[in-house]
C-alpha cells in the first residue's frame, strides 16, 4: 500500500490491481467517515480521497494505514456483487470493427462473438465518460489494440474492445476502441438514481440478441 498526494487537497491510496482489495479499501475508507473528507472514489488499483482543505491532508494520510489495517467487518453491508445481464446485438450494422478484431485474433467473427458472450466480467471502474464501465475478464485471445485513429463519434451503447479490456460507451463520444456490438440499455441517465447503470464490483455477462430483439428493446 502506498499513499501519494494528488495535489494539495486529495490523496491516492494505491493498493494494487486486485479488484477485491480496491473494493475493501473503498468500503473501509467510507466506513471510517474521516473528518474533512468530501468524497472517496475508486479507480483500477487505487482509491482517491478528496478533502475539503489542504489542512486535512497530512492528518488524513497519517490515519489511513491504521484504518486499512483493521480487519474488514463481515457484515450484511458487504453485499454480494450484482450480476447484470447485458443484451448485445453483435450483428454487422452495430459491430463496426468485428472484422478487424476477427483478423487480429485469427478467429472467425462468430467465434469472437461466442467467446465475448461466454465470458464473465467484473466492472473495475466507471469513468472516461459518465457511466462508462471498464470491464476485466476479456478472454486473452480477444485482446486487440486500439484503433490507430480514434473515431470522432462512437454511438452510445457500443460494446468495444480496447487492448485487454472491454467496455461499453455510455454516451456518444469520440473513442478508439474496436466496436463489436451494441446494447440497447441506457448506461447513463441523469433522471435515474443512480444515473450510472454500472458500479465498480458488478458482475457482467453479455447476452447476444438479434437485430429484431434490439429494435424491440429500444421501444
Amino acid at each position: 500500500m502506498e499513499i501519494v498526494a494528488l495535489g494539495d487537497a486529495a490523496l491516492i491510496v494505491r493498493v494494487g490491481e486486485s479488484l477485491g482489495e480496491v473494493l475493501t479499501t473503498l468500503q473501509k475508507l467510507e466506513a471510517a467517515d474521516l473528518p474533512g473528507v468530501t468524497e472517496v472514489a475508486p479507480a483500477f488499483a487505487s482509491v482517491a480521497v478528496f478533502l475539503r482543505s489542504p489542512e486535512e491532508l497530512a492528518q488524513c494520510a497519517a490515519v489511513i494505514p491504521s484504518i486499512l489495517g483493521r480487519r474488514a467487518r463481515a457484515t450484511n453491508k458487504t453485499r454480494a456483487p450484482r450480476l447484470l445481464e447485458v443484451p448485445v446485438c453483435y450483428e454487422p450494422e452495430f459491430a463496426l470493427d468485428l472484422e478487424q478484431v476477427s483478423q487480429h485474433c485469427g478467429l472467425a467473427p462468430q467465434e469472437v462473438v461466442k467467446r465475448h458472450a461466454a465470458a464473465r466480467y467484473r466492472v473495475r471502474c466507471v469513468g472516461f465518460t459518465p457511466g462508462f464501465p471498464y470491464l476485466s475478464g476479456l478472454p486473452a485471445a480477444l485482446a486487440t489494440p486500439r484503433r490507430g485513429t480514434p473515431r470522432t463519434a462512437v454511438p452510445a451503447g457500443s460494446v468495444a474492445i480496447g487492448g485487454g479490456q472491454t467496455g461499453i460507451y455510455s454516451l456518444p463520444s469520440p473513442g478508439g476502441w474496436n466496436i463489436i456490438g451494441k446494447t440497447p440499455l441506457r448506461l447513463f441517465d441523469v433522471n435515474r438514481e443512480p444515473p450510472a447503470l454500472f458500479a465498480p464490483g458488478d458482475q457482467v455477462r453479455f447476452v447476444a440478441i438479434s437485430a429484431e430483439k434490439f429494435a424491440q428493446w429500444q421501444q
Partner: protein, 323 residues
C-alpha cells in the same frame, strides 16, 4: 418569476455553481465555476449564498437585460462591464434597474469572468448541483450553454432600495477579482510521477515557459513547450486526476486539467497547480505563456489557510456593513 433575457450569449456562457461533488465514482466531472473563489466572492458581494448559481462568461461578449431590480457583481478576466453610461469595475457590487442592459466587452486579457446576480440563477438542481455539465449535456439551463434569446429565471431576493447608489463605494481586493495577470506563474506541488521524469524534464518544467495551445476548454489546457521525457515508459493504471493536475501526454507535452476534467486518467502526473492558484489557471487562453514554480505542500497549505482567513474577514466585513 423574474428573469434575465440573454440578448447576446457570447462565445460560451453557462450556468455554474461550486460543482457536483460525490459523483466521481460514476465518472461524473465535478465541474462548476472554474474559479470557485470568484463564484464565492461575487455571490457574497450580492448577498447570495456562496454556492448560488451564477453565469460563467468566456472571453466576454455577453449582453443581458433585467426584468427587475437586482444587485450584481462580477470578477475574472480583464474586460469592461457597461451599464448605461457607466462601467461596473470588477469586485464592486452595482444596482441594475428593471429594463436595463448589462454588456460585457471582449476580454483584453484572461479567459473567463463570473457574474453573480442577487437571488441567484434559478435552474433545477440536477444531482445536487446547478452547474451545467457541457460535455454530457445536463444541469444548468437545459443542459447547454446559453443562446441568444434565452430567458433565465432568477431566485427571489430582497430588491436594492430605490435610493441605493448605482455603485458601491468599495470593492473586493483586486488580487481576487482581477485574476488575468500578464505572464502568469502558477505554483505547483510535485505529482506522484515526478520522480519518473528525467532531470531535464523536471528542470524544464520549472524554468521554461509553456504556451497555451488552441486545445483549451473547460476540461483542460494543452500546453506547448519543451518535451518532458520520462525515464521509463511503464503503462500506469488509470487513477484519479483533479482540477490542477498537470499530466504529460505521450508526446511529452503537459496538459493542465481544469474543472470539467475526466475523473480518472492514465497519463503520468508530473505536478499539480495548488488550490489557491486555480483562479489564475482558469484565465489561461490560447497564445498566453505560463510558467510553473514549485512550492512545498506545507507552503500550499499555508497559502490556502491564509486565503480562507482573508475570505472569512471579508465575510465579517460584509455583515458588519449590513449588506
Amino acid at each position: 418569476m423574474a428573469a434575465i433575457s440573454i440578448l447576446q450569449a457570447g462565445p460560451l456562457t453557462s450556468v455554474q455553481d461550486l460543482g457536483r461533488a460525490r459523483r466521481r465514482r460514476e465518472g461524473i466531472a465535478v465541474g462548476g465555476a472554474l474559479d470557485p473563489l470568484a463564484a464565492r466572492l461575487t455571490n457574497l458581494l450580492v448577498g447570495n449564498e456562496e454556492g448560488s448559481a451564477l453565469l460563467e462568461i468566456t472571453l466576454g461578449g455577453l449582453r443581458l437585460r433585467f426584468e427587475d431590480d437586482r444587485t450584481v457583481a462580477w470578477s475574472g478576466a480583464t474586460l469592461s462591464a457597461r451599464l448605461g453610461e457607466g462601467e461596473i469595475p470588477a469586485g464592486r457590487p452595482a444596482v441594475v434597474r428593471a429594463g436595463e442592459e448589462l454588456e460585457f466587452g471582449q476580454a483584453s486579457a484572461g479567459c473567463r469572468a463570473w457574474l453573480a446576480i442577487s437571488g441567484g440563477i434559478d435552474v433545477p438542481l440536477v444531482l445536487n448541483s446547478r452547474s451545467t455539465d457541457l460535455r454530457t449535456g445536463f444541469g444548468g439551463y437545459v443542459g447547454r450553454a446559453l443562446r441568444d434569446g434565452d430567458q433565465i429565471s432568477l431566485g427571489s431576493a430582497s430588491p436594492p432600495g430605490p435610493r441605493s447608489p448605482r455603485l458601491a463605494d468599495w470593492s473586493a481586493t483586486a488580487e481576487w477579482t482581477q485574476t488575468a495577470v500578464t505572464a502568469p506563474v502558477l505554483r505547483v506541488v510535485r505529482g506522484s510521477e515526478w520522480d519518473e521524469f528525467v532531470r531535464e524534464a523536471q528542470s524544464s518544467l520549472l524554468r521554461e515557459s509553456f504556451t497555451v495551445s488552441a486545445k483549451a476548454d473547460r476540461m483542460g489546457v494543452r500546453l506547448e513547450g519543451p518535451i518532458l521525457k520520462r525515464a521509463n515508459d511503464w503503462e500506469l493504471p488509470s487513477e484519479a486526476v483533479a482540477p490542477g493536475t498537470l499530466q504529460v501526454a505521450h508526446d511529452g507535452q503537459p496538459i493542465l486539467l481544469l474543472g470539467d476534467c475526466q475523473t480518472i486518467g492514465g497519463y503520468p502526473k508530473i505536478a499539480h497547480v495548488i488550490t489557491v492558484d486555480l483562479p489564475r489557471a482558469a484565465q489561461l487562453r490560447p497564445g498566453v505563456t505560463v510558467r510553473f514554480q514549485e512550492i512545498t505542500l506545507a507552503e500550499a497549505t499555508a497559502l490556502f489557510l491564509e486565503r480562507e482567513r482573508s475570505l472569512q474577514l471579508f465575510r465579517v466585513g460584509l455583515s458588519l456593513r449590513g449588506e
